[in-house]
Symmetry: C2
């Protein structure tokens, strides 16, 4: 691949672009555009922002991704999880005077874009590895519940409910007397219809012989149908005058090139939340993109995806939109509809732009309850109870990390939830690796083999102790090794030599080296020599210039047999093989 | 060991206590008490607190440690690093009205005590493993520089200088016209004397034939001598009237049993800093205690040390003192002076209590510059330039973590410094382990051995790909394995089967299992079967009930040879041995 097309994958696929590919991409773009319009409005509402912000976030970001992205079928835009995080971040921030929530959301998108770009340029994609599967899964499920419960107020027609799960539920209960009956009928009717489309309709379509791609589209078109029907009903019956909240005026026409805020205080407040949004958005994007790429035996490049996602968020921020990421549902539709190249994304952007230009007056009467119902149906698929059960059965430590994530996400907040999950899973991992298997070994009589004294019938003397750690030495486990060795010395007063058998040590970091120095010094204080055996080549290459070997009270032996033959030949049975 | 004496080690050594041990402990206690009085005053000053707070922190905590500690010779009390952190934490906190700095320091000690106790009871000592050697070493060196530079104002007699290194230096420069000449003469005279005692005196003592224990004591007594001489000079010449700042009135008598604050806002502010102080204090304590224990082939129990340190801090908090930990210098003196049991600590507590009762009027004229000079001489031993050079030579990654710690500690603050160091070293570690060695293997012709295709002359077919990860699968590396496998599939269009050779996999966590599911699903989408071989017993025991094996598109083979014999016998050369 040429260097330039590494950063601009469009140069790669663009040269091979032809009419056939364009025709396929066009069909996919039309379908995705239709699906994206109500979704964009809904996720802007979920983020607590005016509906047009969602549309703006679905134009320029798609263009940016088409230029920089490595996935042929990924569709970026506002998604439920990131919109919820945006709402929570902007809600928690003390916005400086003059900064509107929209401006804050744009700024959040820009900061997130910069972070993603930096992560891509410095190849920091591995940061996503901090998010273990139980933590992500727990976080996504808990967020799904939070989002769904948070939308219930739109189905009831009651005022704003905010905060954690308990607070939202309490607010809903206290508002029960204020519910608006027309809204309830419309909202729950819509919800029931959408559930039926998902659960009941596929079976009917199957019975009438409609399967495959078209059946999928009819099911996916459910929300669009609900939007059309309820908008017509809202207009015809003038539901707004009966207390049903409608979307209202959406500014018509293209978004102006908008400037995010460069208020330092705001940037300071948003920097850490933007990092969280970036990492979570990246994980979602990469997992969707990889799933789709594998289906066609294609490849994506995670570090380039960071750059593409960064550019998409910069696009969102400068076009008046909210943070975006690669969405699962829309990418699946794009894939199923036969999108062949990122050009489908470019065409979708044109579609959304057309909708922004011409469709917004039509959406005036769209009831907010319809959008809430589409959000609830969409996010409930995020709640994965089976995963919770599986993880409980498979690993109690992972389950603990997951439960911390779920509990704190639901009852404290989404940022503390995910951060605590990450911290807990790192701590559990360090705890696990900080106590590696450390065997005391002895000679298998008559051979050059040395095995664990607890598992094998081996010979050991009293003056030499041989210890074999079954892990590389690094900061999390080297103190444990020290502790074990000191304990063994305290137990064996006749000891004169300790041999560290290094056959399983692939690396020794500075902390490990410091521990070896410490062990050497403390053994010297106790009058015991410290020796190494079977040190691997690369490890020895670094130990040698460090000066450790000259300081060693004992020696470095090539083999464990040599070590014992020198230090305590009497304890050794001669080797029949050698 | 009986259960009760596990938690009260005093029950263990107390029963064997006798006159001979008591005589040894008494000598050590007298020497340590004399050394501790000026030190306690100095470290209280360093923490920005009245001098008596340091004395109060050197009585009850010593009693608590004697009851609960497992080291025979560790001496707890205020130390430079923890005092600096206390100053920084209290300086940064927005103290609620009615909360004095002393009350805040006591509360910090109590919170820290509770955290340490909890860590001990829940056996969370492994948390200290988060602090790698380069991070601790860098942090201690940078703190030493900060402390020393922060004390220079006392040698010049200029007003308070605060903040990071740049701010302190700028303040010192701007105050240069205001320096007080008598203070400068006294301060730098004292500093020169103390340096000479450390560097020049030992050689002279050696020449006159004075070596060993007594020579050490004379050197260690330097600060005490400086205190006596400068106090006398200050009294005789009435230096206070010439602008030399003196310690002044220290309340005489025992500290009252004091109540820390239970202001929730204060606890909220101090909780996280207290965690940092606790972990760093614990690391210092354990490393000192282990060094000394090894010299006499004794053992300490780190989890019990947490409890002892927790009780010591509770003692400090309820007696009007500041946070304490095990100090290196004082423990060395205690050890060298021949302390045999923790009873030496009890006797030292009595010594300090006596000083608090009777000595404080004498200390009225003690110049603050003398204390500053003793602090500077003591902390400059913390600055370890050799360690920085060694780590630079040994490992660039560790050096990077160290430099981040040093730079941020000096120029941002001590808490951000150590926290960033921990985060950077964790990230570097995850980065290293997140890309484990993954070999594509082939058959060594005529044998049942399978080796890396890049290093050995082995046979491979085109329809089967065998991949061997040389690491357990866990959250930080499983996505990399996925990525590698998808890349290999994209490169080999003729592929029909993938075999994951699991001979080096000791564990698979939930994220690893999820990745195996993903790989299986994506390979199925590409029409490739996914197989496992040489799965270890314990790993298989957990995979089996998880349902993964039934979902697998391929099979689980006992040996890699079996796998190839079944999947692609044509690519295999018959095994001569089997």
């Amino acid at each position: 691949m040429r260097p330039l097309s590494r950063f601009f994958p469009i140069l790669d696929w663009g040269r091979r672009y032809n009419r056939q590919l364009a025709a396929n991409d066009f069909v996919a773009a039309v379908i995705v555009s239709i699906m994206l319009v109500p979704q964009s409005l809904a996720y802007a509402m979920l983020a607590g922002l005016p509906p047009e912000v969602g549309l703006y976030a679905s134009i320029l970001p798609l263009v940016a991704y088409a230029v920089f992205g490595t996935s042929a079928t990924l569709a970026v835009g506002p998604v439920a999880l990131i919109s919820l995080m945006t709402a929570s971040i902007i809600g928690a921030a003390h916005l400086p005077s003059g900064i509107s929530p929209v401006l804050a959301a744009m700024t959040l998108a820009v900061i997130s874009g910069i972070i993603l770009l930096a992560m891509g340029l410095f190849r920091l994609g591995f940061i996503a590895n901090f998010l273990s599967h139980p933590v992500i899964s727990g976080f996504v499920s808990a967020s799904g519940v939070l989002i769904a419960v948070g939308q219930v107020r739109h189905l009831l027609g009651v005022p704003k409910t905010e905060g954690n799960l308990a607070e939202i539920l309490a607010a809903l209960l206290s508002h029960l007397p204020d519910i608006n009956i027309p809204t309830v009928i419309l909202g729950f009717g819509c919800l029931g219809f959408l559930f039926w489309v998902r659960r009941g309709l596929p079976a009917i379509l199957h019975r009438v012989g409609l399967v495959g791609m078209w059946a999928t589209f009819i099911v996916r078109a459910g929300p669009v149908l609900a939007v059309i029907i309820t908008t017509l009903a809202s207009w015809y019956f003038d539901l707004a005058s009966h207390g049903v909240k409608i979307v209202g005026t959406i500014p018509q026409g293209f978004p102006a090139f908008a400037m995010p805020s460069f208020n330092l205080q705001l940037w300071h407040q948003l920097a850490l939340p933007a990092l969280l949004i970036s990492v979570i958005g990246f994980v979602e994007t990469v997992s969707v993109a990889q799933t789709l790429a594998a289906k066609r035996r294609q490849r994506i490049r995670p570090d380039q995806e960071l750059i593409a996602l960064g550019m998409a968020n910069l696009g969102a921020g400068f076009a008046g939109g909210l943070p975006v990421t690669g969405g699962f549902a829309r990418s699946m539709v794009n894939f199923d509809a036969g999108a062949q190249t990122p050009a489908a994304g470019l065409m979708t952007a044109i579609g959304i732009a057309a909708a922004t230009l011409f469709l917004t007056p039509v959406l005036y009467y769209l009831p907010q309850a319809t959008l809430a119902a589409t959000i609830i149906v969409a996010v409930l698929t995020l709640v994965d109870v089976t995963a919770i059960i599986h993880i409980f059965r498979y690993s109690r430590a992972d389950f603990a990390a997951m439960m911390v994530t779920i509990a704190l996400t639901l009852f404290w907040g989404i940022e503390p939830g995910i951060v605590s999950g990450v911290v807990v899973s790192l701590m559990l991992y360090l705890h696990r690796t900080s106590r590696p298997h450390i065997a005391v070994v002895g000679q298998v009589p008559g051979t050059e083999h040395f095995r664990n004294v607890l598992r094998h019938d081996v010979a050991t003397g009293t003056s030499v102790l041989t210890v074999r750690p079954d892990e590389s030495l690094y900061f999390a486990n080297c103190r444990y090794l020290e502790d074990r060795i000191y304990a063994l010395i305290a137990e064996n007063p006749a000891l004169q030599h300790v041999v560290l058998m290094c056959s399983a040590i692939n690396e020794i970091d500075s902390s490990g080296l410091e521990s070896l120095h410490e062990i050497n010094a403390r053994l010297r204080d106790s009058g015991v020599s410290f020796n190494l055996s079977e040190v691997k080549g690369p490890v020895m290459d670094r130990l040698d210039p460090s000066g450790f070997v000259t300081e060693l009270t004992g020696r470095v032996f090539l083999s464990q047999y040599d070590a014992l033959a020198t230090l305590d030949p009497s304890a050794l049975t001669p080797c029949r093989i050698a």
